[in-house]
């Protein structure tokens, strides 16, 4: 059976740079929250109830058809660094790593599918794919949900739909998130406008890397804020047909403006990024994200040759703290980690000279 550490050797479906519009739309994600009717929600479940819930859900997940290729990680018996790897790969939430007691996650070998057990809700299913593929993600999640529903008695009410621990998830239990790389909107200062528009359409936008609300590296995650009163179809359509295409067009416009009106400033940014990443001896996570973002922009816009998006995507992941430690095979702190990150980066970028 696979272990979390084994994952560091691969890129994960969502970072594979294969999906439509993957140059800007890094990934599409669909998440469904479900609870079992015969147990209290997780926060009010006793330890024996949690263990029983865990066993029940795990057995159900592992009994799913073999072609889903699921392996299971019992998080209560997993090392910190391996749990952290799962967070960095977006397979579990931070909350799930720091949680306590009986809990776990089922993951498909290609990492497109993952199901957290005993997080805030009994079940949190996620389908995560490269590029703009929300509908495809939904189809998979819907199918998985139907398969589980045949054997598990979900908490459901006529009026409020699928009942969740937090009322902000009630109804469809559906959260769709699209992760976008928007460096040009940031450079041209237009990003605020995009956010203001988003506010009116009830979206949640948050920076992807780093804690809380910052957006280091120009990665933004755009999600629906409401889960009740609209069908799954309506939520998906709004994202696929309206919200995401609008932001995508704005980013493309900003890129062509940079290209036509400020080519020097653009190449300066990209050149500085290459300069730092190829030569630095100490690199923090934040700096790495910041400069990799500009390098990625350069690669996507064809202003840097000899590097492909796949490599850059891999670097975003492998320079994260837990990945770095697993890839290098040793525990690293503070300065030593920054030095190791810089060494790794130089080696990766010099192996492919422009």
């Amino acid at each position: 059976m696979m272990k979390p550490g084994d994952l560091t050797k691969q890129n994960g479906e969502w970072l594979s740079a294969t999906g439509p519009k993957h140059e800007i739309v890094i990934s599409s994600r669909v998440r469904l929250a479900r609870n079992l009717a015969s147990f209290p929600f997780v926060s009010k479940a006793s330890q024996p109830q949690r263990s029983e819930l865990h066993r029940l859900c795990r057995d159900r997940l592992l009994a799913l058809p073999g072609n889903l290729n699921l392996f299971y990680v019992d998080l209560d018996h997993t090392e910190d660094v391996d749990r952290q790897i799962l967070v960095e790969r977006h397979l579990i939430s931070k909350q799930h790593t720091s949680g306590e007691g009986s809990r776990g996650v089922a993951i498909s070998a290609d990492e497109a599918l993952s199901v957290m057990v005993n997080e805030e809700d009994h079940l949190r299913m996620q389908v995560l794919r490269s590029g703009m593929r929300l509908r495809e993600c939904w189809k998979t999640a819907d199918m998985l949900d139907n398969m589980l529903q045949e054997h598990l008695d979900y908490a459901f009410s006529e009026r409020f739909g699928y009942l969740t621990a937090c009322p902000t998830n009630v109804g469809t239990g559906l959260r769709v998130s699209v992760m976008m790389h928007l460096p040009a909107l940031k450079l041209t200062g237009e990003i605020e406008k995009v956010f203001r528009a988003a506010k009116d359409t009830h979206l949640a936008i948050r920076g992807l890397f780093g804690e809380g609300t910052e957006a280091i590296g120009d990665f933004y995650q755009i999600s629906n804020q409401t889960t009740l009163g609209r069908t799954e179809e309506e939520i998906l359509n709004e994202f696929s047909d309206s919200i995401i295409p609008r932001i995508l067009t704005a980013e493309l416009t900003a890129r062509s403006i940079l290209e036509q009106e400020r080519p020097l400033a653009l190449d300066d940014r990209i050149g500085r990024a290459i300069g730092v990443l190829r030569n630095a001896r100490l690199l923090s996570t934040e700096e790495t994200l910041y400069f990799l973002s500009h390098l990625r922009l350069g690669v996507v816009m064809g202003r840097v040759t000899g590097l492909d998006i796949d490599t850059i995507n891999k670097l975003f992941l492998q320079t994260q703290p837990a990945h770095l430690q697993r890839v290098l095979g040793r525990t690293l702190d503070g300065e030593a980690r920054k030095a190791a990150r810089a060494d790794f980066m130089r080696q990766q970028l010099q192996a492919r000279p422009p």
């Binding site: 929600f41 699928y162 009942l163 009322p167 009630v170 609300t213 804020q225 700096e287």
Partner: protein
């Protein structure tokens, strides 16, 4: 705990600003982060939205003494954690939750999506059709407003077909 760089309150937002490659650490409280534009209103995590709603709710929603027999949840505990304890809480605290759900869900009060029963369940089919009709009617209203009469005619046909199919209310 780090203090806010601007006003000395406890900092809740920790940022690393990078200006031309030189990282500077910034620590701000929620309020200052909002004022300095580091946080847009639209970025507030969902549980915080809920939190604000819960704090704004006056004590007048008489829930004192109300307690779920199944899981022991009280309204005060829900206000503190933002999490309900079991599915029965949706009934027990129905009166108090109504306003919270309505504001957290932009006015929505009723589920219209996928149903627990298998998709072939007649009930589910009716709901799906109803949702589809609602969507078409909204599109129609918008088409008329835009004076796109050709599109409106098409939508009217689709609505007619759906309405005449059996099982619609």
């Amino acid at each position: 705990m780090k203090k806010c760089d601007r006003c000395n309150k406890p900092a809740t937002v920790h940022l690393t600003e990078i200006d031309n490659g030189i990282p500077t650490e910034l620590h701000l409280c929620d309020q200052c982060a909002g004022e300095t534009g580091y946080i847009q209103q639209a970025h507030i995590p969902l549980n915080e939205v809920l939190n604000q709603l819960l704090q704004a709710q006056s004590r007048s929603a008489k829930a004192d003494g109300l307690r779920c027999e199944e899981c022991g949840m009280t309204w005060q505990e829900f206000k503190d954690t933002g999490l309900l304890g079991c599915m029965k809480d949706y009934d027990i605290f129905a009166a108090q939750l109504q306003g919270v759900i309505e504001s957290a869900q932009q006015g929505a009060t009723r589920h219209t999506g996928k149903c627990k029963e298998s998709p072939t369940d007649p009930n589910a089919a009716v709901k799906l059709r109803q949702a589809e009709l609602n969507r078409l009617r909204k599109d129609l209203a918008r088409a008329v407003q835009r004076e796109s009469y050709e599109e409106a005619a098409k939508l009217r046909d689709q609505i007619k077909v759906l309405e005449s199919s059996p099982g619609t209310d």
